[in-house]
């Protein structure tokens, strides 16, 4: 700014030539403009590409599944047989296993995840304790799922075996615990999934709880509420939709989780009410049979299963994203 007076006092007969040059380039459509235009086109094209990947994926999988879709129709979803040599395929045991293992995971992970979110977002602990706790729980999400599965086979299954035996010996009159445990089980898969979705629930619920206005908290405390009365009477109702969104995202993750579940669920095509029984999930059968699948209805049926899983997780994820977005816009 100091030498602006110099510039204004400069004789107008000598304009800076370089500026003139680029100005004329702008108006005449010189190389710089073409560069910018080309850049714009490329950026749009790549954004469109990202957009198309999802649709391309849906179409390709649907296209490959078409022989099976035409052959079995919607009856595929309720079919109970999976007979490769005779080419009779039904998805019900896999859908059942996927839903049940994810349900166990949610039932276990929601209370634990909420506890972590509350303990690390309220002033229970000094921040030099609570932020490392939140960090350690979030770090759990970065462990590759195959390594969680390896740990599941060699540590979690032996650890849960006595608990499974206890449930079977004492509560076998309840259908949920009515089969002899053998190690791998639907219950183990549920526990492994709970460990894997715990960080999602904890991290998002924590953000939601931290976003609850301080005034609400103070108001409840001023009326004489204790800390936990404030939590149950004010904080949880205020952040309810956000916590539902977090759990929905976690459900999406649980439905599609492959490796860890495949390694501990036992991979047996059965539908049993017992959680101690072996099971099978859609991702697990894809992981086990895809590489060896022959042409024809077998591969078509696997593609059909993949398509069902894709649609299922798409619905769950889209509703979770919309829930979080609605919440975000309401807050603004």
């Amino acid at each position: 700014m100091a030498n602006s007076s110099d510039q204004t006092s400069r004789p107008s007969s000598q304009p800076p030539t370089s500026l003139e040059g680029s100005l004329s380039e702008l108006t005449m459509g010189g190389p710089a403009v073409w560069l910018d235009l080309g850049f714009l086109v490329i950026v749009y094209a790549f954004a469109l590409g990202t957009f198309l990947v999802l649709f391309c994926m849906a179409w390709v999988i649907f296209d490959q599944a078409r022989p099976a879709i035409l052959h079995f129709g919607l009856g595929f979803i309720v079919g109970r047989d999976w007979d490769v040599p005779n080419e009779i395929f039904g998805a019900l045991p896999y859908i059942y296993g996927t839903l049940v293992s994810s349900a166990i995971a949610l039932i276990l992970a929601i209370p634990i995840g909420l506890s972590v979110a509350l303990v690390t977002s309220e002033d229970f602990l000094p921040s030099w304790v609570s932020s490392p706790v939140a960090f350690i729980v979030e770090l759990l999400a970065s462990i590759p799922s195959v390594i969680v599965g390896l740990w599941g086979i060699f540590v979690l299954i032996p650890f849960l075996q006595p608990i499974q035996d206890f449930l079977y010996n004492n509560f076998r009159w309840i259908p949920l615990f009515s089969t002899q445990p053998v190690g791998p089980a639907m219950l183990v898969a549920g526990v492994i999934l709970a460990i894997m979705i715990l960080p999602t629930i904890a991290a998002i619920s924590r953000d939601v709880l931290l976003a609850v206005p301080k005034d609400l908290r103070s108001a409840s405390m001023a009326l004489g509420g204790t800390r936990w009365e404030t939590v149950f009477g004010t904080l949880l109702p205020a952040s309810f939709s956000g916590i539902v969104g977090a759990s929905t995202l976690a459900l999406g993750r649980a439905l599609g989780e492959t490796m860890a579940v495949t390694m501990v669920i036992g991979n047996s095509i059965e539908i049993s009410p017992s959680l101690l029984n072996l099971g099978y999930t859609i991702p697990a059968v894809l992981a086990n049979e895809f590489a060896e699948a022959g042409e024809g209805l077998h591969i078509g049926s696997l593609m059909y299963l993949a398509f069902i899983l894709f649609v299922l997780t798409l619905i769950v994820n889209v509703s979770a994203v919309l829930m979080v977005q609605v919440l975000g816009s309401r807050r603004e």
Binding site: S22, L40, V43, Y44, F46, A47, T50, F51, V53, L54, C56, M57, V60, I61, I112, G113, S115, V116, V119, F124, F135, I136, V137, L139, S142, I143, P144, S145, V146, I147, L150, W151, I153, F154, I195, A202, L223, G224, T226, W228, E229, G233, L249, G256, E257, T258, M259, M263, P283, L286, A287, F290, A291, M303, A306, L309, F310, T313, A320, V321
Partner: protein, 308 residues
């Protein structure tokens, strides 16, 4: 909310039954507070257990066998004694496939992020693309594997299991992570810097690359590293695209199964041979080491970028 003012008279100042704030809480409320404290703290303690249990077990079972030889030699045949046993081929395969996946997904992702934060900002198109990227990040990795299988392994042009098929699957996994983290990084560059660049006569190409991307480079690098760490640990998309082999990877050749660390851990974990189980644990040390290192470092990097 509580029953203590139900018997209070309308004018508490003159009444004798005024609430004495020094009264201790009723027994029920004290018990409730303590029980809930206990429940919340024990569940939080429970949540911390798995990470430590996993890390401890990996170090206990994997570290004793981690020698230079395991990192540079091929897997020995089962039952062979006194031969160098390792997983160098799997390390090479993982680097190869993650490398190609990065070459595909980084330009794609960064340019999409530039669109989201620079050109399409606030528009419906950008909101849609961002939404699709978010949804894409939630697609199960096994479904991405099925997609890569359908377009590459089944394709007549490059039929069979190959490193290319595995790389394409990993690229699709990485793409949404790169897009979303890069957009966050670009948004942190102050708007006045863009205006200053435009005022000096720079076009959109120059402004974007010389000012915005240059300024956001640390953030973009962090996001890319996170995506690389995620891809290195993925198994499901590789299991029937790259498959596995006991020999060295053969580059980009079609119809040549390519080994990777994650698929090796999966195969050897359920193997009946103990030496293969041991190798799985040792490979886990390498994989978890890389993944955790990247995640912890990037966490601190992101924090320092945001506070800067």
């Amino acid at each position: 909310m509580h029953s203590f003012n139900s018997d209070a008279t309308p004018d508490p100042l003159t009444s004798s039954s005024v609430i004495d704030l020094r009264d201790p809480l009723s027994l029920g409320r004290v018990i409730f507070t303590n029980v809930m404290n206990f429940v919340a703290f024990s569940l939080t303690g429970l949540a911390l257990l798995p990470l430590f249990a996993i890390l401890l077990e990996i170090l206990r079972k994997g570290l004793p066998n981690l020698t230079w030889q395991t990192l540079v030699s091929l897997p020995a045949a089962v039952g062979e004694e006194g031969v160098a046993n390792g997983f160098a081929n799997a390390i090479q395969g993982t680097i190869l496939m993650v490398g190609i996946a990065s070459l595909i997904s980084i330009p794609f992702g960064v340019l999409t992020a530039i669109f989201l934060s620079e050109f399409g900002k606030g528009s419906k198109v950008a909101a849609t693309v961002r939404f699709v990227a978010t949804v894409l990040s939630g697609v199960p990795s096994i479904v991405v594997g099925v997609f890569a299988y359908a377009i590459i392994v089944l394709a007549p042009a490059c039929k069979g299991f190959s490193a290319i098929a595995g790389s394409v699957a990993l690229a699709v996994i990485m793409l949404p992570i790169v897009v979303l983290t890069t957009e966050e990084a670009l948004k942190l560059v102050p708007v006045p810097q863009r205006l200053a660049s435009s005022a000096l006569g720079c076009g959109s190409f120059q402004t974007t690359f010389r000012v915005v991307v240059a300024g956001a480079l640390p953030g973009i690098t962090t996001g890319v590293l996170l995506a690389v760490a995620r891809a290195a640990g993925e198994t499901a998309p590789l299991i029937f695209t790259a498959l596995f082999s006991q020999t060295w990877p053969e580059g980009l050749k079609c119809n040549s199964p390519t080994p990777s660390l994650s698929v090796m851990i999966y195969n050897y974990a359920s193997s009946p041979f103990q030496e293969q189980n041991r190798l799985a644990w040792t490979a886990s040390v390498v994989l978890v080491g890389i993944v955790l290192l990247v995640n912890i470092l990037s966490r601190f990097a992101i924090r320092s970028l945001k506070t800067r």
